[in-house]
Symmetry: C2
Subunit: 329 residues, 2 copies
C-alpha cells in the first residue's frame, strides 16, 4: 500500500518531533520540510528529504498528502493553516482556546473551496484533554470537570521571567497542587481558586550584580502571570541551570467527578493524566496519528474543517476493524 506522504511546515521543536514520529509509523513517509528561513540553513535529521521555502509549497500540492503545520498559535497558524489549506489537507495544533471558533471558520472555508480536509487544534490540550472532557461529560452529565496542568514548562511564563531586568536565564514550571487533586478525587466537588490549583516554580540565573530581592519581587507580583499564584523563585548558577533545566516536560490531569443512580447519590470518578518528558515530541505524535485519520476520512469523501471530536477512534489506528475488535476492544 502507498505510504501517506507527510509535509512539515515549520521546523522547530515541534517539526523535529513530527519528523521522529513519522519514523515510528510504517505507513507514513516524510516528503519535505517547508520553512520561512533560508532552506539551505536548515539541516534535517532524515537523509534524502529536501527542505523547501514556504513559497514553494503551493507548487507541491500533488506531492504531499497531509501538511502538518508546526508553527506557533500566536501569529503563524492563524495565517498559515487557512493559506496552506488551499493547496493541501492540513493538520495543526492551534491552541489559543478563545479564538478556536474563528480559526475553525477560516480553515473550513479554505478547505471547502478546494475540497480539502483540515483538522485543527490537535495535540493534548486542546486534543486528548478535550477528548477526555467530552467523553466524561457525556457519560456523567451531572458532575464537575477539573483540568490541571503540569508539572511542566510554561513557555509564556518562562518568557515573562526572562523579560525581567537582571534575569539572564529563566524557566517556569507549572505544578498542580497535590492537595487540590486529592480534594477532587474525594468526590466533594470543591470550588478551587487559581491559587489553590497550581503553584509556579521559577528558576533564575541572574546577571552579575543584579538585585536578587528585586527580581524575586518583580516576578512574584507580575500581574496576569504570577500575582494570583503562590510562586517560588530559586536562583542558581548558569552551569547548573543549563544542566538541569534544558528539557520541555509537561503533562496534567483531566478529572470528572460525577454522580449517578438513585438521587444521584453514587460517586463516579474518571481521571486522565499525562506525564510527558517532552511536550513537543508528544504533541507531534498526536499530530501524526491524526494524519492517518485524515486520510481515512478523505477517502470517505469528507471535506472541510474537523476537530478531534469529529474523528472516530478507529481512524487513528493502522489496524483493521477486525484486528481492533479482536485485540484492543
Amino acid at each position: 500500500m502507498a505510504k501517506i506522504k507527510i509535509g512539515i511546515a515549520g521546523y522547530g521543536n515541534l517539526g523535529r518531533g513530527v519528523e521522529y514520529a513519522i519514523r515510528q509509523n510504517d505507513d507514513m513517509e516524510l516528503v519535505g520540510v517547508f520553512t520561512r528561513r533560508n532552506p539551505d540553513s536548515v539541516k534535517l535529521n532524515t537523509e534524502g528529504v529536501k527542505v523547501y521555502s514556504m513559497e514553494q509549497a503551493k507548487e507541491m500540492s500533488d506531492k504531499v498528502d497531509v501538511m502538518i503545520l508546526c508553527g506557533g498559535s500566536a501569529t503563524d497558524l492563524p495565517e498559515q493553516t487557512p493559506e496552506l489549506a488551499k493547496y493541501f489537507n492540513v493538520i495543526d495544533s492551534f491552541d489559543t482556546h478563545a479564538t478556536i471558533p474563528q480559526h475553525f471558520a477560516n480553515v473550513d472555508a479554505a478547505c471547502k473551496e478546494t475540497g480539502h480536509v483540515g483538522i485543527i487544534s490537535v495535540g493534548w490540550d486542546p486534543g486528548l484533554f478535550s477528548l477526555n472532557r467530552i467523553y466524561a461529560e457525556s457519560i456523567l452529565p451531572t458532575g464537575k470537570t477539573y483540568t490541571f496542568w503540569g508539572k511542566g514548562v510554561s513557555q509564556g511564563h518562562s518568557d515573562a521571567i526572562r523579560r525581567v531586568d537582571g534575569v539572564k536565564f529563566g524557566i517556569q514550571y507549572t505544578v498542580p497542587i497535590d492537595n487540590a487533586l486529592e480534594q477532587v478525587r474525594s468526590g466533594n466537588q470543591p470550588e478551587l481558586t487559581t491559587r489553590e490549583k497550581h503553584l509556579r516554580e521559577c528558576y533564575v540565573v541572574a546577571e552579575e550584580g543584579a538585585d536578587l530581592a528585586k527580581i524575586e519581587e518583580t516576578i512574584k507580583t507580575m500581574p496576569n502571570y504570577f500575582d494570583e499564584y503562590n510562586t517560588t523563585v530559586t536562583f542558581m548558577e548558569e552551569e547548573e541551570f543549563k544542566a538541569v533545566h534544558n528539557k520541555m516536560p509537561h503533562g496534567g490531569f483531566v478529572m470528572r467527578s460525577g454522580r449517578s443512580g438513585e438521587g444521584e447519590a453514587t460517586h463516579q470518578m474518571i481521571e486522565y493524566s499525562l506525564k510527558l518528558d517532552s511536550n513537543p515530541e508528544f504533541t507531534a505524535s498526536v499530530l501524526v496519528a491524526y494524519a492517518r485519520a485524515l486520510m481515512r476520512m478523505k477517502a470517505e469523501g469528507v471535506v472541510g474543517c474537523k476537530t478531534v471530536f469529529d474523528v472516530a477512534p478507529a481512524y487513528l489506528s493502522p489496524l483493521s476493524g477486525e484486528e481492533l475488535r479482536a485485540h484492543l476492544l
Copy 2:
C-alpha cells in the same frame, strides 16, 4: 425536539442503572422495560412506564428508538442482541473478550438484514478502557500497554467463593498492586506476572461450625480463580459483612508507557483510571450516552454493527459542534 425513546431489556442492577441514567439526560425518555420474568412482578422506579414480557418486544418496534440490553454476557446477550436487532436498534455491554468477533458478526448480520444499527461491548472494559488503548497505542506506537482492574468486586470470583463448602456469604475484591503501578509509571516497561499485578481479597461469612482453615485453603488453591494470585481470606460476622460489603465498586487503570523522539529515548506516559462506587450504574451511564450516538449515526444512514471504536466522540454529546468547539476543545 422529540426525545430519544429508550427501551430496557432486562431489569437487574444494570437495567436499574440505565433507568436512572436516562433521567440525567433531557433528550431521552424511558418508554418500556422488557423482562423474562412475570411483568406484574417487576416494580420500576419510574412512574407511568410499563413493564412488558420479552415476547411482546417485537410488537413494539415502532415505539422504541434504541433498545438497551441489560442481560449477562454468558448466556443472555449472545442470543438476545441478534434477536432484538431484528426489531430495534440495539446497544449492549457484551464483555466476553474472546467471543466478541463472533458476537459482532451475529449482530451485524441481523442489523444489516433489517436496516438497524447495533453498538456492542459498550461499557468501561470493554468500552472506555478500549478507547484509551486505541488512542494511546495509535499515538505512541512504540511502547507497552498495561491494564489493571480494581479495587473492585469480581462477580465471577465472588461466585466461586460462595460455592466453597461451609461458606454462607462471600465477596472478592480484585486489588491492583501499588508497586506494580509505580513500576509502570517509572517507564521501565516491566514484565509483570499475574501475581505481581493484582491481589485478591476475600471476605467470608462461614456457616456455623465450618472448618475455617479448610475454607481458606480451598479458596487460596482454587485453580484458574486464585492459585496464581496472592489471596487473603478474612472471616467476619454476618452482620458486619452485610453492613460493609453491600456495594459493587470497581475501577482500574489503563496505562501506556511509550517512547518518542531521537532514538526513541524520551519517555511519555499516558494513564487513565476509573474509581467507580457503582460498577453497574457507571456501565449504564456509558450505554445511555452511546444511545444518543447511535441515533446520530442512524440519521446519517449508518447500518450494521459498530463498536466504540467507530463512534466519533461528538456524537455522544448533546451539545452542538459550535458549542463543543467553544467550550470543551
